[in-house]
């Protein structure tokens, strides 16, 4: 288990201000809240690759993730952790981003396997996205091909520790630097890429909208953004496709 030093989180402290300036009760309450949050995590495992095979032993009786308070969850809207286990093809990345944006904050992303770090053994592949944290804010990488359940558990414990001490706040980074992430997504998916989630509106809602939330890429998004509608089902449909 190792978290990459290169992940640069441009966070400038909490939006709530300096905790030391607040009262003792607030601080104790915040610490309690962070502790409770770190002890009850619902995990959505997006099993893209071979790393998924290490999760059943990590979750079941041998290593027993549940003793740490981590349980699998079936829907993104109720999940706290998004676990990306293995290589991410460009097509899958779209779905991962859609899933991630549906999750409610605070939310955490863990990249398991070397493939999420830099493509791993698929570094030559034209269809595999290489660096996951260019498109999503990744809290923690668990490198290995594949990491054993011990490593997965160690990574989870590290994430819990980061949540307890308030270090795991990269989900705020997605709102603060949305333009950066959107730009990288547009590079892969084309300029017409949009998600059904109003990320800028959410950033305003959380009070996290900063100078880098809006930029040239979000301007491009607003030009062609169409009102919310279900995604087009393309596989198997024989209707005319727009070029």
């Amino acid at each position: 288990m190792s978290d990459l030093k290169q992940i640069s989180i441009h966070a400038e402290g909490d939006a709530g201000g300096d905790p030391k300036s607040e009262g003792l009760f607030t601080r104790v309450f915040d610490e309690l809240k962070a502790f409770c949050r770190s002890r009850s995590l619902f995990m959505l495992h997006y099993c893209t690759g071979c790393g998924a095979i290490e999760l059943p032993p990590a979750m079941t009786s041998r290593f027993d993730m549940e003793r740490l308070g981590i349980q699998p969850m079936v829907t993104p809207r109720q999940a706290d952790i998004l676990l990306v286990t293995g290589y991410v093809s460009i097509k899958t990345l779209k779905r991962i981003i859609l899933t991630y944006e549906q999750m409610g904050g605070p939310k955490y992303v863990i990249g398991i396997c070397s493939c999420t770090v830099n493509g791993g053994m698929y570094w030559q592949s034209y269809a595999t996205a290489k660096v996951l944290n260019e498109y999503l804010p990744v809290d923690l990488y668990i490198a290995g091909c594949m990491p054993r359940p011990e490593a997965v558990i160690t990574g989870m414990r590290q994430l819990m520790e980061n949540i307890r001490t308030g270090k795991a706040d990269s989900w705020k980074d997605y709102y603060r630097r949305y333009d950066h992430y959107l730009g990288n997504q547009q590079q892969l998916f084309g300029e017409r890429w949009q998600t059904p989630t109003d990320v800028i509106g959410e950033a305003d809602h959380y009070g996290l909208a900063g100078p880098e939330t809006i930029g040239p890429h979000t301007a491009l998004l607003q030009q062609h953004q169409v009102p919310l509608q279900p995604l087009e089902m393309r596989l198997g449909s024989r209707q005319e496709r727009k070029p």
Binding site: L4, K130, E134
Partner: protein, 185 residues
């Protein structure tokens, strides 16, 4: 009719096609090389008179130096229990061939896949639209002249992964012996 008596009959049947070359690869495997124009006749013959109802795959090979595509039709009969592999060669340019969808419905699936991966167009196939690579805008990626590595270098960033514990192992003579930069050269 026993299986033993059917296998010679198959060979007899195949002789009806003009300019065909038959290679017995094994007791249950027959390779057949023929001209592209005669392939529909062969498929019709096999389906109609030898019970070859199962087209298990169409594969494509790109022979870039010879400017040709090779198509291999894998056919299986549950009666004779002999696999027939029909090989044809097509010019790489313009890369157009006839669909066999009217004979074998699953051909639509294989032909769409080959069109996506190699750019070979099948006339008469029901759908030649995007199939698996719905996000792909580049050239057909399985062609030999597509340089996937150069594509990756131009379109993706590289992230080095060299943690401290790996450096310690490398100091003792272990670790990764071939770095990605060396592979690329």
């Amino acid at each position: 009719m026993s299986r033993q008596s059917l296998a010679p009959q198959l060979e007899f049947l195949l002789q009806e096609i003009e300019g065909i070359r038959i290679h017995r690869k094994g007791p249950r495997r027959v390779r057949v090389d023929l001209a592209a124009e005669t392939l529909p006749a062969l498929l019709e013959l096999l389906k109609g008179r030898a019970g070859y109802v199962h087209l298990s795959a169409i594969t494509c090979v790109d022979w870039m130096e010879q400017e040709e595509f090779e198509l291999v039709y894998h056919l299986w009969s549950y009666e004779t229990r002999v696999l027939v592999m029909a090989h044809i060669r097509l010019p790489r340019d313009p890369g157009v061939y006839l669909s066999v969808y009217d004979l074998f419905k699953p051909a639509a699936f294989f032909e769409r896949d080959i069109h996506e991966m190699f750019g070979l167009y099948f006339e008469g196939s029901p759908d030649m639209g995007k199939f698996i690579l719905t996000e792909w805008e580049g050239p057909p990626p399985m062609r030999k002249d597509f340089d996937g590595e150069a594509w990756v270098m131009n379109h993706f960033n590289w992230q080095a992964y060299h943690p401290d514990w790996l450096k310690e192992i490398e100091a003792q003579g272990g670790g990764i012996t071939t770095r990605p930069e060396d592979v690329r050269r």
